[in-house]
């Protein structure tokens, strides 16, 4: 399926034929449908807080509750020795990227199945669906970021230029969630088992990432290498560094980036390969 860009007043010629093996990514089709992407993100955000009494306030409440719970359980009950004074900020810096990642992954994995009626009735590049489900988490993320900034001011953490790193780092979180999400969303079309696995996966993944604790707690070179296979480990560590200037990202971060690239490229191609039978199998 390769639409040739339309010439003036000349309708585009569309050739439909069976694609074999690994299909090309066809990013130009995705570009043509960018407005749809925008509308899908907008729909997700708009609908999320409709008919809730508290509305968008939930986007503030949930991260605050999360930070409080983490502070109580890990900061007070388990006495995180090292930085217990500003543990709320430590957990908040972990929860910030984690919230974006876990929410995006959750929505992404069920995105195709949740849009069955669209997939079986209208043609558009299917990649729009998982991408929009991931991007729609960015508004909540922005609100969480504000909470972190408030905490920073409260704890008199110096605001440095390092904060600008949050921009590329956020992009990295989005791509990580999308990479894993593409695999899960495509698998979910065929095996609904994925729907049961994802919540558990996210829970385990959180403990395998430095959300509630600092990445510095993981020691030993071998352990750190294995730890680095989790792309979120380096990303969260870097978030924390950019905000409170803890241990700077190093090998762990590079490993994260490499892992993300592998997952992303493979996820894209797997998705494209499965895409052509979505309407038949979903």
């Amino acid at each position: 399926m390769k639409p040739i860009p339309p010439v003036e007043n000349e309708p585009a010629t569309i050739v439909v034929k069976p694609s074999r093996g690994w299909a090309a990514l066809n990013l130009s089709a995705l570009w043509k449908y960018r407005e749809l992407l925008y509308f899908m993100v907008w729909r997700d955000i708009k609908v999320r807080y409709k008919q809730a009494v508290l509305g968008i306030a939930w986007a503030v409440l949930l991260p605050v509750i999360n930070i409080l719970v983490f502070t109580f359980v890990f900061g007070v009950l388990f006495h995180q020795n090292q930085t217990s004074a500003n543990y709320p900020l430590l957990s908040a810096t972990g929860l910030l990227p984690w919230g974006l990642f876990s929410g995006a992954l959750m929505r992404c994995s069920i995105s195709l199945v949740g849009n069955t009626n669209l997939i079986t009735k209208v043609y558009f590049p299917r990649l729009i669906i998982p991408i929009s489900s991931v991007l729609s988490g960015l508004v909540d993320f922005g609100i969480s970021l504000l909470i972190v900034l408030i905490l920073m001011i409260y704890y008199r953490t110096p605001l440095t230029w390092n904060l600008l790193w949050l921009l590329p780092l956020t992009l990295l979180v989005v791509i990580t969630a999308l990479s894993v999400g593409l695999w899960l969303a495509a698998l979910n079309v065929q095996y609904r088992d994925v729907g049961h696995i994802v919540p558990v996966l996210i829970q385990i993944w959180m403990y395998a990432s430095p959300v509630a604790y600092s990445a510095g707690l993981v020691t030993g070179s071998i352990t750190r290498i294995v730890y680095g296979l989790n792309p979120m480990a380096g990303v969260i560590q870097s978030f924390r560094w950019a905000i409170i200037g803890s241990d700077p990202p190093g090998v762990l971060f590079i490993m994260s980036v490499v892992m993300v690239i592998i997952l992303f490229v493979s996820g894209l191609f797997y998705f494209r390969r499965m895409e052509r039978t979505f309407a038949d199998t979903i």
Binding site: M1, P11, P18, R43, L118, K121, R192, D193
Partner: protein, 425 residues
């Protein structure tokens, strides 16, 4: 000039058990994956044949459609009509062959797709437009026109979940109708909505064709096919059996199909597996001497019977007959358990073979051709099976009231009413 649609040897192979059974288990597929090399070797030894678990929903379909042409597509249930439409609208890929399309394909079967109940009418117009492939600027330009066409101006900022179903349908149709695609696909829209809405659909279709766009019209409704299309394709079991001027094609279809024999059998491969445990066997039209007939006299009672099997006991089953005219006007709908006593008695139907039969009283129908549909469902639980156009038959009005005047008489029913004439001084 290049044809707008050029199909070459199109084919679509489905794995049975894929759609009906839906999800394979993971372990099944891991086994499949692991045994793939083995199967590959076997395949080299024995060239691939159409194995039992696959089915060609469509095969060897080649045709061209010129710009501005209105082409009808007819065929029985399971003949491959919907598969063809899915290929044309690029929802699914063909297994073999090639399809070249010049321009945007819009479809009236997508009416309301992607509408979100929580969003307002205004928001849904933009969202739905984008889903159907319209640019933001294009939607903004046509916005007022769409709203006017839908007649929901007052409620345009109300969430559509508060709309009545009629308003919802009108708004959805308004968006789809303003897509202005080069190729419009219409699939049985005549089966949904009220008479007004159907007229609007047909009117819009006529406009589209006059503007020089191409229309593909899929229908069971022969009179609509005759009225709206120039040429018609007949599909049968996934193959194209005829392409001819519509009057010729309709004649062929009515003659070749079982549609005029007074009896309709369902082959196993015509029944979707989603119908289980219900298995339709036959629908028959019987005169008052219990002979199978394809035309009945309006002055005599006649019977309609449905024979079917239940593989397991079914609760709340009801068999319904829908009688329509060939102009898709509904005459009546009736269920075998309409009577409360019958409903009580047949709440549970054990597994077995059944016939549900009803008698149509004399002096009810006007002369003309009618279409009989059948449906098996448990109310608000499940619909097992449905065939909207299972059997066609003629009603002959010889001896009916008023036949001494040769003029045709309007109306679906032709009752023998009790008249009295009084002379008033």
């Amino acid at each position: 000039m290049k044809p707008v649609i050029h199909a070459e040897q199109l084919g679509k192979l489905y794995r049975i058990g894929l759609a009906p059974q839906r999800y394979q288990t993971l372990s099944e597929n891991i086994t499949r994956f692991l045994s793939a090399p083995l199967r590959a070797i076997r395949r080299i030894q024995a060239p691939r044949s159409d194995s039992a678990d696959t089915i060609w929903a469509l095969r060897d379909i080649s045709f061209d459609v010129e710009k501005g042409q209105v082409l009808g597509i007819i065929g029985r249930n399971g003949a491959g009509k919907s598969t063809l439409l899915k290929l044309l609208s690029r929802i699914t890929e063909p297994t073999e062959g090639m399809l070249t399309i010049q321009g945007r394909v819009g479809s009236l079967l997508e009416v309301g797709t992607g509408f979100h109940p929580e969003l307002t009418g205004r928001e849904n117009i933009f969202l739905n437009g984008a889903i159907l492939g319209m640019k933001h600027a294009e939607i903004a330009r046509k916005f007022d026109e769409i709203v006017a066409f839908s007649e929901v101006e007052q409620f345009i900022d109300t969430p559509v979940k508060r709309y009545s179903s009629g308003m919802y349908l009108r708004l959805a149709f308004a968006v789809a109708a303003h897509l202005e695609p080069e190729i419009l696909v219409v699939d049985e829209v005549l089966a949904v909505g009220d008479a007004d809405f159907q007229r609007k659909c047909l009117g819009k279709m006529g406009d589209v064709a006059e503007e020089g766009r191409t229309v593909l019209f899929v229908s069971h409704n022969m009179s609509a096919i005759l009225r709206l299309t120039h040429e018609t394709i007949i599909l049968e079991k996934g193959r194209m059996v005829l392409r001819a001027p519509s009057p010729e094609a309709v004649d062929y279809y009515l003659a070749a199909g079982h549609t005029s024999s007074g009896e309709r059998f369902w082959e196993e491969d015509e029944v979707p597996s989603s119908a289980a445990p219900f298995r339709p066997v036959a629908l028959r039209l019987l005169d008052n001497r219990h002979q199978i007939v394809d035309s009945v006299r309006s002055t005599e009672p006649f019977n309609i019977e449905m024979e079917y099997c239940l593989d397991v006991p079914v609760t709340g089953l009801r068999i319904g007959f829908y009688l329509n005219t060939t102009r898709a006007e509904s005459v009546f709908t009736s269920f075998d358990t309409d009577d409360p006593g019958m409903f009580e008695k047949y709440t549970n139907r054990p597994a077995g073979r059944y016939v549900s039969r009803c008698t149509i009283p004399p002096d009810m129908l006007n002369s003309g051709r009618y279409s009989l549909g059948v449906n098996a469902s448990s109310y608000q639980i499940r619909r097992y099976f449905q065939d909207e156009d299972a059997l066609g038959f003629n009603v002959d009005a010889t001896g009916a009231p008023g036949m001494h005047w040769s003029e045709p008489r309007d109306g679906v029913v032709r009752p023998r009413l009790q008249w009295s004439i009084e002379s008033l001084k």
